[in-house]
Subunit: 416 residues, 2 copies
Amino acid sequence: MSDHVKNASIVSIGNEVLSGRTIDTNAAHIGQQLRLIGVPVVSTHTVADRREAIARILALTASEADIVVVTGGLGPTDDDLTRQAFADYLGVELELRGELLAAIEALFQRRGWEMPLKNRIQACMPKGAGVLTNDWGTAPGICAEKDDTLFFALPGVPREMRKMLEASVLPRLRDFAQGQAVSVRRLQCYGAGESTIAEMLGDAMGRDRNPLVNCTAHAGVITLEIVAMAAGEPEAQAMVASEEGTLRGLLGTLVYGVDEQTLAEVVGLKLAQSGRTLAVAESCTGGLVAKFITDVPGASGYFTRGWTTYSNEAKVEELGVPEKLIETHGAVSAEVATAMAQGARQRAGADHAIGITGIAGPEGGTEQKPVGLVYISVDQADGTTTSRHVFSRDRSSIRLRAAQTSLNTLRLGIDG
Amino acid sequence: MSDHVKNASIVSIGNEVLSGRTIDTNAAHIGQQLRLIGVPVVSTHTVADRREAIARILALTASEADIVVVTGGLGPTDDDLTRQAFADYLGVELELRGELLAAIEALFQRRGWEMPLKNRIQACMPKGAGVLTNDWGTAPGICAEKDDTLFFALPGVPREMRKMLEASVLPRLRDFAQGQAVSVRRLQCYGAGESTIAEMLGDAMGRDRNPLVNCTAHAGVITLEIVAMAAGEPEAQAMVASEEGTLRGLLGTLVYGVDEQTLAEVVGLKLAQSGRTLAVAESCTGGLVAKFITDVPGASGYFTRGWTTYSNEAKVEELGVPEKLIETHGAVSAEVATAMAQGARQRAGADHAIGITGIAGPEGGTEQKPVGLVYISVDQADGTTTSRHVFSRDRSSIRLRAAQTSLNTLRLGIDG
């Protein structure tokens, strides 16, 4: 492969991972270490202890990556087949290396044991392949090059793998991948769906661009990840900054934060900065909004109290919602949401208050007031905003979206 | 492939998994579900959102598995390429299916939105491929057969994937893999750690037993999964029932529920059955207990109201906690937790009430009252139980464990 950004594939070998008995932490660790030196991972694979399957995956990864890191299958037992499969793929035989055998025998001697015959196989290498020294166990690693791809095979024992990766693999890759810097920034958006945002961005989301913009959606939050690659760090950062400016220009107030920020964090930051306080009154979300707000360390600086008024009596007694209002409009109505927010703000003596009432389901919906109907009200000194929403899917999604939307409404209200 | 045990490969598509941003829970879930119906997994793969890479991995998996389950890449944006790659691999074109387009348009209409143009692509299928209905989102799945291998492509959104796997994929595979019956039951435990429970169970947790008992821990809940295999369904079920009896005998009241039951569900069931009601007063958990309780459909039948009294004033004004008590003992004290529970029960006129106060951190700890210190009080007609806990790790874990422990205390209190 030529003058592009060097990338990698990761291969884990072993039945114990596939059977669900062991969680494969190796692949995650290797991926993290590679990304840190600017080598993106383009695929990961886990295959069984079968010689042909291993050889086949080596050939496949050679076609898509510049670097392949393999773990597992280097032990001394009959189901350790990575060595043989490597030889098959390289089209060579295994050969016994005298110096490796001596080193393994010495290791056993130091532990006061005789070397079992089975361990002889660990001194075998595909003809012509390089050795990666293992100072932490019996299995040496393998280094080989074919089809313009550089292969490293490491033991599956996490401790040995990590030590060898650090000592023998990463230093070589730092040279190999040098001259490329990666800069990443995430923009967090709320208030429009994935496809709407994609349409607003148009070409900015095209394939094979640099910077590249990836889009993912979770719980109504759309995350845009900007990834720029360049010869140097400052250049990559400048590319990300410029792209961020373009995206913000296109999306306006849909962008609420960066990196790992949640809506509750951004709202909390605004409240803390302005020295203002918040109270919440929840019905269908049942404490979820308060939970989100108090997830943020330091929330006690601006969040004073919240109510979960699940019954009508609670709405009347705790928040002073007029009984008549509930009788006339029903507990799920714009009028009651408004009265909840206003009552909460007044009782708490807070600057802002949220009121939420709705039908989270699965029961309780009618034709006029279906499951998913939620009224959200935000009350503050300059007035009250109450909005009507119909969220879809199940109880959990409806509650989640209602809570997030209330925080987003508050965010826009504080800004305004 | 011929008369052998049918096996499977799992393919996850998406840059967000490879970049380390998202943990791929899909592959683990699918693997578990396949193993439960007796289908071993021979390989798993994660590849980037690149059309050729996806097509290449489909060809590779066809050579090693009878069944291939693919997730991801069925969204509406330009980086969703599973449909196109499938068509490439099958050697056909994509075609727009009128009935799928109508269904997607109807879904948007129900939500009160216009369908963005981008979503049209989700109505496209490789020519000749079968459709897997998606009743939980906009992306239908794909079903196709080639090279004696059966392919299923599902959306990457975990919820949609799980529902479709259950509804459309597993039933077909159960027939395909028939001949072995598996019965599974989960016991949910709270109140002791994983190693304590393992010691209490002793031999029952040995390897290679049938039934096998797997143990996993999450948020303080220890899940014991009993898996029995036999020639017939009744035999496997009897084995599970017998093992369940043994485990329950050893663990007593540590077992709070079965299968997917949460503590809040079990507490809710007990309250609903006895016609009694519950109120909660939270400080450090900030709404999380109320959230857990109202996660359960029908919670309005027994849960009337909750308070998040984050400030001292709120504890005094809303719950009638004596100011003097806070001055003397501090807001984080057994006395204040007790007064919160009692105040909440009285104000709400409820049969049971929970009061929680503690230090979730990361700030606010002292030598005498460290981060993680939490007092939990449960008040009911026959008296008040208040307990002191020091939970470890971070803010999120401390809040989670405090909320769960309060529900567990209530569960044991209702029983008693």
